[in-house]
Point group: C2
Chain length 279, copies 2
Amino acid sequence: MTYCLGIVTKYGLVMASDSRTNAGYDQVNTVKKMHTFVTPGERVFIILASGSLSCTQSVVTLLRRDFDKGEGLAKAATMYDAARAVGDKVRAVREVDKAALEQDDYKFNVHILLGGQIKGEPPQLFMLYPQGNPLQTSEESPYLQIGETKYGRPILDRGIRFDKTTLEEAAKYALLSMDSTMKSNVTVGPPVDLLAYPADELDVTRHRRFMPDDPDLAKIRNRWEQALRQAVARLPDLRFNNRPGVREEESIQLVDRNSAEGAPELQPQAGVRTPPQTS
Amino acid sequence: MTYCLGIVTKYGLVMASDSRTNAGYDQVNTVKKMHTFVTPGERVFIILASGSLSCTQSVVTLLRRDFDKGEGLAKAATMYDAARAVGDKVRAVREVDKAALEQDDYKFNVHILLGGQIKGEPPQLFMLYPQGNPLQTSEESPYLQIGETKYGRPILDRGIRFDKTTLEEAAKYALLSMDSTMKSNVTVGPPVDLLAYPADELDVTRHRRFMPDDPDLAKIRNRWEQALRQAVARLPDLRFNNRPGVREEESIQLVDRNSAEGAPELQPQAGVRTPPQTS
């Protein structure tokens, strides 16, 4: 299995991928799923891929060949054109391999994330479906995932905001999303490639590979679990009724038990009324 | 779709279920998926069900009929026997309905969570597979989920500990797990039934149904999202290398930017070395 994600905010892009690949449980290998194409000062592309490794390798190989000749991604006028260039290669490999795969009941299941920026445009993020058609993020939904996407989604849903999440924070969200997935699904595993791209840098300067048992990853995970437990403990206790089926009128007890201990006061949200403290 | 979960810790049981049921997108209904069987002072059972509503209703109907006659769950000597009594009803319905379902390409997909306590035993939690065989939690893995399980799992994986998580905290984890799932999957929806059972109470006294747009649920969600964002902001910033492929020696920058602002100091974990502050 694979888990890859991309986040785009007004501050830039974060891309993350795991490195686990398997053909059955007894043949588990490590492979890089992050590929960069850079013309410094002019254009930057980061590609993440999930699906049959043989097919995704072919897509990347064809893209690299074009890029090195000054074609494809190297000459795309816009990020949309770049996404179409990637989709064309997905379709090219699909054309070559799909029939043979399906004869043996394999699906052509290549999914690609394309993040990047071309000078004059803001950073953008696309997903290419196995059919080669591109989907772009929106400000309301500023991230995309491929592969084993469910475990790592809630933290993104809760936290990422296009206009507020800094690049540093987006990198932490990406790592936490990846870590949640690795914790819940053993077929997603390190090394983890994490790349942060600040808007308008037009070069790749911030990459980190977290190896298995990376002490810093372990530290982040420990700190995060402690912070989550603290946050749960600080939520107001729930108030219950006596029995199922009884008409519910009671409210959550809103007195924060920890407020006297110096816990940070959370801002009340506009539009949420304070329920009366009924018994 | 359905999402149900149960948590068992040394302090008791928490059970939670959504109420969304659908037969296609244009026929979405609300149905209670939590059923209780209580003989006060002697035995308590809470049953949550996922799968075809017609089949799960039949299982519950058969269990209720036996219980009211003093049989089945009413006379099971142990929780294991109770789990077997539920599994027998799963098999009985399977025997009656499976063949007809499969003729039209439907699967017999009933999954049941059974939590409860019989006087003299600790509270216990089982899952019944569609084949009727029971699976019990362990202290290392003290929760079980059925239905749309992935979105709501990371928060449980991070937080629940059999010997440390109080009943009040377990109820918050269950609600957060449910809320994460509802946020990421629209086919899981309120009302949410939440039941907390303190060990040795041998009665059901703490239940709450969260209706759609419950202001308290909205408040919990808002507070939680703010707490998560604060926790992410307080994690140490990540340090990056210059380019992918460069040998990584750098460490996370471990100076906590917020530590001077009175943020709670997180305990270093045993066995995690402090990496040197290389540049």
